[in-house]
């Protein structure tokens, strides 16, 4: 499946653009000329010596011309390694909790011109899967190996008692896997990381220890965008590293999204011209809550979301269908039963709740702006055309109130910590240090239009994400949309292939687990529509929620009340919003998929957790009822106005 993996020097297996070929030709030319240039330099020195004893002006002029030529040729020679086609740079832009429907290119009203530019220059993948939460997705992305083997069988924060001490459940990216940056570095790439890591904090777990030459990283899963304030009393400070050193303070003028971009640009520039391509993992914290953002980004959508989540979801779905992201006839997932119809809310309530979405939109737009800065810089230094961009969100949008989960109980230490550090609740202060705004399940559903549920859950709203790939590896028509079944685990084989590297069986004496993904080589080159056959399957498990997808079919098991505490079956081709559980109508299909699940469990040492953050959710949420639009009619009844001619004053 992976081509050219035996010879890293041979170059990408699925072709380079014409500009790349030209670059290769130029490299050859430089080599032959450069051989001569050494002689010229020698000759030049000799000539200078002569000049010093009184040669003519024409010799000085010729000398200058030669010097210029030598300098130019030498610089070109430095920029290209002899005998090696120039391999593309790789930039992975990860939006934290960025929703499927949050980019303009995927139907959002949020303005993302720079991400949309990448979509226009590349391909949008509408059927791409991540994991349901962040560190599991990141672990798969960087290792290509299933979470239950790579150390993120559960999130570090929610690891269950029966998983403690079990291999694959360390809560950090374990040493049994090799990372993508390690392999790319071995293959001659510079490897840079900026942003959120969330895969371990110990010295042997940080980005510098896992293959990144340069990094500026937030090791935690969340925290302030303005400073080092974290969320919980026991862990009050976020931990950052820069180039493998733990930071005692943050740079002046720190704002996460801006600083990450600044740092990456410096990393790129520092090694510019040495002829090596770079791999950059741009793991933005944005738009994960708290919605911290500069003042000027908070007021770009005042009042736009007062219309409520239903209207915005409908508008997004309409655009998605027009764009071809979703097929005509796609229905929205039902509004979750505990979310009110915004029509029944008071305007002030809608304004307050809408303002949260205004901030979220600002977060995404600010993220896009800084992506634009990176793109612009790569264009300025002539690297844009030779850079592969891969853009996606790490999981579904966040619908759970993380802050309440941590600090919501009065009298607890975390509550007091929040009182001291996170109590700036006035809407005008939202976005400032000390404020903690998230947007709740209603807007998370908007971000995940048209899907059901959100981050942490196995409905499409938890695991289905938007993906953009652009750059020299992409041969499909620019701006096209693909519906092949893709998975974040595919990135390891795909990028190794692009880099002309291979996935080894052992690394530093350790036997490596097999990759779970499939290269996108043929998909990107236009030779195939999907890297997967109808028999290939995808499987997920986190917090005890679990799912299997094979072809158009999907079974999922979720805690009540979002799930049924039992397996449900959906046909995603017919019902992408998972509106109707058809398990009872297709028992054989359920049985077949359960057999796959069992096989997946055995192959990957899946240990279902004995405890789950969702284990008591059924007691916290209102009793689940169907969402029947217009029910009860009582709350929608308007004032009855009798015919004018039948109206009268009371008789005396």
């Amino acid at each position: 499946m992976i081509e050219n993996t035996k010879n890293p020097r041979k170059g990408p297996g699925f072709g380079l653009p014409s500009s790349e070929t030209a670059t290769s030709d130029r490299a050859v030319l430089v080599e032959s000329e450069c051989s001569g240039c050494i002689g010229l330099t020698t000759h030049n020195r000799t000539y200078q010596d002569r000049s010093s004893v009184g040669m003519g002006k024409d010799f000085i002029l010729r000398l200058l011309i030669i010097v210029v030529m030598v300098t130019t040729l030498a610089a070109t020679a430095i920029a290209s390694t002899p005998n090696e086609p120039r391999r593309p740079n790789i930039v992975i832009i990860l939006g934290d909790d960025l929703g499927y429907a949050d980019m303009g290119a995927f139907g959002s009203e949020i303005k993302t011109p720079n991400l949309d530019l990448l979509a226009r220059d590349g391909v949008r993948f509408a059927n791409f899967y991540t994991h349901a939460t962040c560190s599991p997705t990141r672990s798969i992305l960087l290792s290509g190996v299933d979470t239950h083997l790579n150390g993120l069988g559960n999130m570090d924060e929610f690891s269950a008692p029966n998983q403690w001490g079990v291999d694959g459940y360390e809560g950090n990216l374990n040493k049994r896997v090799v990372t993508m940056p390690q392999l790319l570095k071995d293959a001659g790439y510079h490897t840079y990381m900026v942003g959120k890591w969330h895969l371990g904090k110990a010295p042997d777990q940080i980005p510098a220890a896992r293959g990144f030459e340069r990094d500026f990283s937030l090791l935690d899963g969340a925290g302030s965008y303005w400073d080092m304030t974290n969320l919980a009393a026991v862990s009050p400070q976020s931990v950052f590293t820069e180039d493998g050193r733990y930071l005692t303070r943050l740079p002046d003028d720190y704002y996460a999204t801006k600083t990450y971009t600044d740092k990456l640009i410096k990393f790129i520039d520092a090694n510019r011209g040495d002829g090596k391509p770079f791999f950059a993992y741009v793991s933005h914290q944005a738009p994960h809550d708290p919605f911290h953002l500069p003042q000027e980004w908070r007021t770009r959508h005042i009042g736009e979301y007062d219309q409520g989540w239903d209207a915005v979801r409908q508008a997004r779905l309409k655009r998605m269908i027009e764009l071809g992201i979703m097929p005509a006839g796609t229905q929205l997932a039902e509004r979750m039963w505990f979310i009110p119809d915004p029509i029944v809310l008071a305007p002030a309530t809608r304004a307050v709740l809408g303002k949260k979405m205004e901030l979220y939109a600002g977060m995404v737009e600010n993220l896009d702006f800084h992506v634009g800065r990176l793109i612009e810089h790569l264009k300025e230094i002539g690297e844009y055309e030779n850079t592969i961009f891969i853009v996606f969100g790490d999981n579904g949008a966040e619908g759970t109130d993380l802050f309440k989960m941590i600090a919501g109980t009065p009298g607890t230490r975390d509550y007091l910590f929040a009182a001291a550090n996170w109590s700036q609740t006035h809407p005008n202060a939202w976005g400032d240090p000390g404020s903690y705004v998230s947007y709740g399940p209603m807007w998370a559903q908007v971000s995940m239009t048209p899907f059901s549920q959100y981050k942490g859950w196995m409905a499409e709203g938890g695991i289905h994400n938007a993906l953009i790939v652009s750059g020299p590896a992409v041969k499909r028509p620019k701006g096209s949309i693909n519906h092949g079944l893709m998975h974040v685990a595919d990135l390891m084989p795909t990028l190794l292939e692009i880099a002309g590297a291979s996935y080894p069986k052992t690394y530093e004496g350790r036997e490596l687990p097999a990759l779970m993904g499939k290269s996108w080589g043929k998909v990107l080159s236009g030779e195939a529509e999907s890297p997967r056959t109808e028999q290939d399957y995808l499987a997920w498990e986190i917090f005890g929620n679990r799912a299997v997808r094979q072809g158009d079919w999907k079974i999922r098991w979720e805690y009540k009340p979002l799930g049924k505490g039992d397996w449900e079956l959906f046909n995603l081709a017919l019902d992408p919003a998972e509106r109707k559980d058809i398990a009872s109508e297709h028992p054989d299909k359920v049985k077949a998929l359960l057999a796959i699940w069992d096989s997946y469990v055995r192959a990957n040492n899946v240990v279902l957790p004995s405890r789950s953050p969702f284990e008591t959710l059924e007691d916290q949420l209102p009793k689940r009822v169907p969402d029947d639009p217009g029910y009860p009619p009582l709350i929608y009844k308007r004032q009855f106005v009798p015919p004018k001619e039948m109206m009268a004053d009371p008789k005396p």
Binding site: I339, P347, A348, N428, D432, P441
Partner: protein
């Protein structure tokens, strides 16, 4: 997640964004008097001032009585309502001064005393915004209100029906029409977040006085007097704020049957502390004194001020009842 719960969560927000700002009082009003509030809001101020000096504080022309020692305990009660007028935020107020005033004047070794008590001249005030945010017609507007740079037009008119005794110089009523035209300015500095709000405020104005044709049997006339009040206000917490206050007076030369006095040219400095007790009550305390006032004929005045303002809005009260 219930809608009702969400609505309740909004209430503190709307109550916290300045539904009840202190209403204007006569002459030198404290800072933050011209902040705008939810249309339909009502307020009743009760202001008590203890003032000493050589002028009658009930008379905004501040005519200087050289050698006099005047002490006044002045109360001010009134009613204010916010409403839109031609699409602009407007407040109308009725303010009634009351109190006691006494003076001792030493002339040629003898002390002459006068005293008065009762009600002063009620004042009608209309203040409408010219530049600035639109009126806050609903809670959404309240939520999004920030003054930015706002400029109002202000008109005061005192009705001469207060206690007046033409036999003495010292009175609570002034026995003449008078009023003021002004242009209150509120300039927001920084974010509009309770606990962080900072404003620079000015009230330039001109006082205009009609004649008093029975001033101890004579005719009292007063030239227009220009006044600029300035305040630098700053939140200390979400409920506590303070201000540095300044006032400048010029003009207002009076004449009695053609015998002219001196025009004022006076500066006063002071401070104010304010505290929002709850959504309905705010309390302020202030002190102000004229400076460089040792010259004969200079205005001398200092005073303490305590104000309690009760405010309400039918919507807020209804929400509170439901909340309880």
């Amino acid at each position: 997640m219930k809608p009702a719960a969400w609505l309740r969560s909004v209430i503190p927000v709307m109550l916290a964004v300045g539904v009840l700002s202190p209403p204007p009082i006569m002459a030198q009003v404290p800072g933050r008097s011209y902040w705008k509030t939810l249309s339909g809001a009502n307020a009743v101020p009760l202001i008590v001032q203890s003032i000493s000096g050589n002028t009658n504080p009930f008379d905004p022309s501040y005519t200087v009585n050289p050698g006099a020692n005047i002490n006044a305990t002045m109360g001010l009660a009134g009613y204010l309502r916010a409403f839109p007028l031609f699409g602009r935020a407007t407040t109308a107020a009725l303010l009634v001064p009351m109190g006691r005033i006494s003076s001792d004047v030493i002339l040629a070794g003898a002390t002459a005393s006068e005293a008065a008590r009762g009600f002063g001249d009620p004042t009608l005030e209309l203040c409408t915004n010219i530049i600035g945010p639109p009126p806050q017609m609903n809670l959404v507007d309240v939520l999004r209100y920030e003054p930015g740079f706002s400029l109002d037009l202000l008109a005061d008119l005192a009705v001469p029906i207060g206690e007046y005794n033409s036999a003495q110089a010292l009175n609570l009523g002034q026995n003449r029409w008078y009023g003021r035209l002004g242009a209150p300015i509120v300039w927001q500095i920084g974010e509009w977040v309770p606990g962080q709000r900072t404003t620079l405020e000015f009230l330039p104005g001109v006082w205009l006085f009609g004649p008093n044709t029975n001033y101890q049997g004579k005719k009292l006339e007063t030239d227009p007097m220009f006044q600029v009040d300035a305040h630098l206000t700053r939140d200390f917490t979400e409920r506590l704020w303070g201000a540095l206050d300044g006032a400048w007076f010029q003009g207002g030369k009076s004449s009695v049957d053609g015998v002219e006095g001196k025009a004022l040219k006076t500066v006063a400095l002071g401070f104010t502390l304010g505290y929002q007790i709850n959504e309905n009550l705010s309390l302020t305390f202030g002190y102000k004194s004229t400076i460089k006032d040792k010259d004969e004929g200079a205005l001398q005045m200092d005073g303490f001020m305590v104000s309690l303002v009760a405010g309400w809005h039918s919507l807020i009260e209804g929400v509170r009842r439901l909340k309880e």
